[in-house]
């Protein structure tokens, strides 16, 4: 019996590396839509499986620190991956920027947002949704932009904060907030605005939102993780990423 088991394990060992592997990926909430498309294409092209979890980068950081079984992190910023790498939880040298995000002022109502964002100054709205600036890079970028525009003081009373950028979007999409400072990728698909009205904030209003990917220590020897990292830098993935309103 023991010998049979041993034989089985040997056979497994021989078979596994050549077979499809699975990689579990922690993905920043703003990258949900493009990542679903990329993962589908990746699975078809490589035969590997990608299991995706979406959420706020801050929470993923805490979870990874506590040993969460993620092998790859697609963060919403560049700080968190750098910190994880310093702390020995990521593979040194595996970090790269997979997308640069843009901030957009959006309303589901057509015509409410003009192409210069004057609606923010006219103040004809009740609530402005954004992601919690303490937790989400898009929230921090929103605060930075409003500060540069000199509007922070006036608008603070109208803020409603989502735990992450996906929740901020939900507040606006459901009509509970009239306006939201969101990730362009959330309202942009196939190279254009999906619905409503929007103003893409000029890039000089905030520091660039560099979204970095990092191979986590747990995924060091996983062929699927390495393959997905390569795939993210390939033409097919980049086309999807660009179509969703990101830059490089």
């Amino acid at each position: 019996m023991k010998r049979m088991l041993a034989a089985c394990f040997c056979a497994l060992g021989l078979v596994l590396p050549t077979q499809a592997a699975e990689v579990s990926v922690a993905v920043a909430a703003n990258f949900t839509a493009p990542m679903q498309k990329i993962a589908a294409a990746f699975e078809q092209d490589s035969g590997h499986q990608a299991r995706l979890a979406f959420g706020s980068t801050g929470r993923f950081y805490a979870q990874i620190q506590q040993g969460a079984p993620f092998q790859l992190l697609l963060a919403a910023d560049d700080e968190t991956p750098a910190r994880l790498e310093r702390e020995g939880l990521g593979v040194a040298g595996s970090r790269f920027t997979y997308a640069i995000g843009r901030l957009v002022l959006w309303s589901p109502q057509p015509g409410l947002v003009d192409d210069q964002g004057l609606v923010l100054r006219q103040g004809r709205f009740d609530k402005l949704a954004l992601a919690d600036p303490k937790l989400a890079p898009y929230g921090a970028a929103a605060i930075e932009s409003l500060t540069r525009l000199g509007l922070l003081q006036d608008l603070q009373a109208k803020f409603v904060q989502g735990e992450n950028i996906a929740q901020a979007y939900q507040f606006v999409a459901s009509g509970n907030a009239q306006l939201g400072l969101l990730a362009l990728s959330q309202v942009h698909a196939d190279g254009r605005l999906r619905a409503g009205s929007a103003w893409v904030l000029p890039a000089w209003l905030h520091r660039p939102i560099r979204q970095d990917a990092l191979l986590l220590t747990q995924g060091k020897d996983n062929p699927a993780a390495a393959a997905l990292l390569r795939y993210l830098q390939g033409d097919k993935a980049r086309a999807i990423i660009r179509a969703h309103g990101y830059e490089f």
């Binding site: 706020s56 801050g58 929470r59 950081y61 805490a62 009740d126 609530k127 949704a129 919690d132 303490k134 937790l135 803020f159 409603v160 904060q161 989502g162 735990e163 929740q167 939900q170 507040f171 459901s174 009509g175 509970n176 907030a177």
Partner: protein
């Protein structure tokens, strides 16, 4: 100092929300529980199920539907807009409505059990003594159900203090309006401010333990009749 001003504000808001929720719930749940305990109506079963629903639904489901209902296209949102109140989402009033719905079964069930345990006899005796039904209710039925009343109040209060999912969905995290202790703790944990999280979370554990302990002591003192 263990609690910064933001934490104190969240604690104060939480206590205010829990107190108002409890008062409203006792006013709503008492007649409702009385009706459920007495009626032979065929509506009893569906209403009873409806009242219990918040007990089994994930708070995220409840919060999501509340968000839609309070929005400009939802029935509640259209009503409040027609009345000139604007939208209730992201406001203390909206949170209060959410809390009342969320904790309804915790108020109704102990009261209903207490009323059911009484049977019909006391009220019948009161009637033969020519007490009007409403009179008999306040002088006979309600005093007899006082343990149920206290249990309902304690559970409603504690459950509202511990509410999280619904607040997260309809609150919008506004200081002094909708940022309660549970969402504050969540924010601290996500932002990796573990020291502040510990103080608030520890206080929450202590509070909940004291509440449940007092409930258990009350139960022993009063004997059976409590859930």
């Amino acid at each position: 100092m263990p609690f910064d001003p933001a934490a104190l504000q969240a604690i104060w808001l939480t206590l205010k929300l829990a107190t108002l929720t409890t008062v409203l719930l006792l006013l709503i749940a008492t007649p409702l529980a009385w009706w459920l305990a007495r009626t032979g109506s065929r509506w009893r079963a569906p209403i009873s199920a409806l009242v219990t629903l918040p007990l089994v639904l994930p708070p995220s489901v409840l919060g999501f539907y509340l968000l839609l209902a309070m929005g400009p296209h939802g029935p509640l949102g259209q009503l409040t807009q027609a009345l000139g109140w604007g939208l209730l989402s992201f406001s203390f009033t909206g949170l209060l409505i959410g809390s009342v719905i969320f904790s309804l079964p915790f108020a109704v069930q102990p009261l209903q059990h207490a009323f059911e345990a009484q049977g019909q006899r006391a009220m019948e005796v009161a009637a033969t003594l020519r007490a009007r039904p409403l009179d008999a209710f306040f002088t006979v039925a309600l005093p007899q159900a006082r343990t149920g009343l206290v249990t309902a109040a304690i559970l409603s209060f504690a459950h509202t203090v511990g509410e999280f999912g619904v607040v997260l969905m309809i609150g919008g995290n506004i200081p002094g309006q909708t940022r309660v202790v549970s969402t504050q703790i969540y924010g601290h944990v996500e932002a990796m401010e573990y020291a502040q999280a510990h103080w608030l979370a520890g206080a929450m554990v202590l509070f909940s333990f004291v509440v449940l302990l007092s409930l258990a002591l009350l139960k022993r003192q009063r004997g059976p009749g409590l859930p």
